[in-house]
């Protein structure tokens, strides 16, 4: 009887509510992508957050994602084992953040005027006063990106239609681990007498550096281009579109960028949960570099424009042909 009473008392004292969250460690999250095509560089600093409520229904407070207290951000450029330049970053909120689940009213970034020099080592230091902690990361800037095709020449028109692909070529870049080409179609769209200039961005698959090759290349499929238009543009009565041209964006990323992309891409093997790559000491995030070249304002060939106007995949999208007409007797 005594043992039964004891057991009841013991069981009654158990808590059924378990606190599954430990105390938030406020782990710093840092992202910085040095862009050699820009003269201003930015660093984003935030922190991890925890909430006891259902996280999917309750976005965190703005302040719970940012560090308070003193934050000092500096960067050094090293060459031949010596510091050549030191840059101090200042806080700014000049770049708005897209609206969404997370708070976006206060988007604090740190910026500095830095023209990235090719083939140098850059070191990032961040002092967080509230945590009395120094974060550190290092990356190498890329060599010069030289694009072979396309060249910025409007007379050399781009043809992208069924049976006609475009080959984009560029030289290998020192320190680069990954490349990507994106095609941007620019067009005018008129609905109910209102005309707007619009863009359709079409990123190509990632390309990796090759060995013993003079140049790297990627084929941009003409028939795929037509399918991309079909899949991404809406058709509608009274909708008229006029092609302006295309831009090519060629980007090379450092090895850190390559590792990050690989670690965040969908798993194909048995290992379903891959750790996300990061190179920030005392924090998580990424410090890497890119080189980018835009070849802008190229024109599409008349055959391409006519294919967009009358081709089987895009004939309902309202594109005008190369004579700015919609003459159906001119069907391909």
């Amino acid at each position: 009887m005594f043992l039964v009473t004891l057991a009841i008392g013991f069981l009654a004292s158990c808590e059924t509510v378990i606190d599954i969250n430990s105390t938030n460690q406020d782990v710093p999250i840092v992202y910085c992508v040095l862009n050699s095509a820009d003269s201003i560089q930015y660093v984003r600093i935030q922190k991890t957050y925890l909430t006891d409520q259902a996280a999917l229904n309750n976005p965190p407070d703005q302040d719970s994602m940012l560090f308070s207290g003193q934050i000092v951000v500096t960067m050094e450029r090293w060459s031949a084992g010596k510091v050549i330049e030191t840059y101090n970053f200042t806080a700014t909120n000049e770049i708005p953040k897209d609206s969404g689940f997370f708070p976006y009213q206060k988007n604090i970034l740190y910026k500095a005027k830095i023209k990235v020099v090719a083939n140098q080592i850059y070191r990032l230091y961040i002092y967080l006063g509230s945590k009395e902690k120094v974060l550190y990361a290092e990356t190498s800037s890329l060599g010069r990106l030289n694009v072979i095709d396309p060249i910025p020449l409007q007379q050399r028109k781009i043809s992208l239609y069924d049976g006609n692909n475009y080959t984009c070529r560029w030289d290998q870049v020192v320190n680069a681990g990954v490349y990507q080409v994106a095609v941007r179609l620019k067009y005018k769209e008129t609905i109910d007498g209102v005309t707007k200039i619009k863009y359709l961005d079409w990123p190509q698959q990632f390309a990796s550096p090759g060995s013993d090759v003079d140049y790297l290349s990627i084929d941009i499929s003409g028939v795929r281009f037509m399918h991309i238009l079909q899949d991404n543009l809406k058709s509608g009565n009274g909708l008229v579109r006029e092609v302006i041209g295309v831009d090519f964006q060629i980007v090379s990323g450092s090895l850190e960028m390559k590792y990050y992309i690989e670690s965040t891409s969908p798993s194909e093997g048995a290992l379903m949960e891959k750790p996300v790559y990061g190179n920030i000491n005392n924090g998580i995030g990424l410090f890497c570099s890119i080189a980018r070249i835009d070849v802008k304002d190229l024109l599409l060939s008349s055959v391409t424009i006519d294919s967009m106007a009358y081709g089987q995949f895009t004939k309902n999208l309202g594109f005008l042909d190369h004579t700015l007409d919609r003459d159906s007797t001119n069907n391909l």
Partner: protein, 153 residues
């Protein structure tokens, strides 16, 4: 009892199904194709060897700019092309698969040199001036016809 009846019914249905399948006749297959396979297009090949003529200008100052094919002279003049190739500095040969017949082609080169170099090399309008080579060619079935556009001065 009920189960036995159900089993008998199942067996009858299975046998009927087998008899039905065995009695089916395969669709006769025509040797050598048919059966919904799309017909191969009747084409010939036009191969254009796009040489950039030499001049006192450096090789990177005169570039390939255009190769287009049209069905007749009027279409060529008006820019109603059947095919337009992507041209590159590094590519010499350009191929087009076309139905047999006579076609008009044009090849264009462009001068990108500074100053009055382009005018001196007879490119109209100076920098970004273009020269054109135009010609006709007959494409024959299952054959490759080779042309080299000729630029004058």
């Amino acid at each position: 009892m009920k189960l036995t009846v159900m089993k008998k019914i199942s067996v009858i249905w299975i046998l009927a199904g087998l008899a039905f399948l065995v009695s089916c006749t395969d669709t006769p297959v025509t040797p050598g194709g048919g059966g919904g396979t799309p017909l191969a297009k009747i084409v010939g090949t036009l191969e254009i060897e796009f040489r950039v003529p030499g001049s006192f200008l450096g090789p990177s100052r005169v570039l390939r700019a255009d190769i287009s094919i049209a069905k007749d002279a009027e279409s060529l003049y008006k820019g109603h092309f059947l095919e337009t190739a992507n041209v590159y500095n590094s590519k010499l040969m350009y191929q087009f698969d076309l139905a047999p017949g006579v076609y008009y082609y044009q090849a264009g080169i462009i001068c990108v040199a500074e100053g009055d170099s382009c005018s001196a090399a007879s490119f109209p309008g100076g920098k970004f001036g273009m020269k054109w080579a135009i010609g006709t060619v007959e494409v024959k079935q299952d054959a490759t016809v080779h042309v080299i556009p000729q630029f004058t001065n």
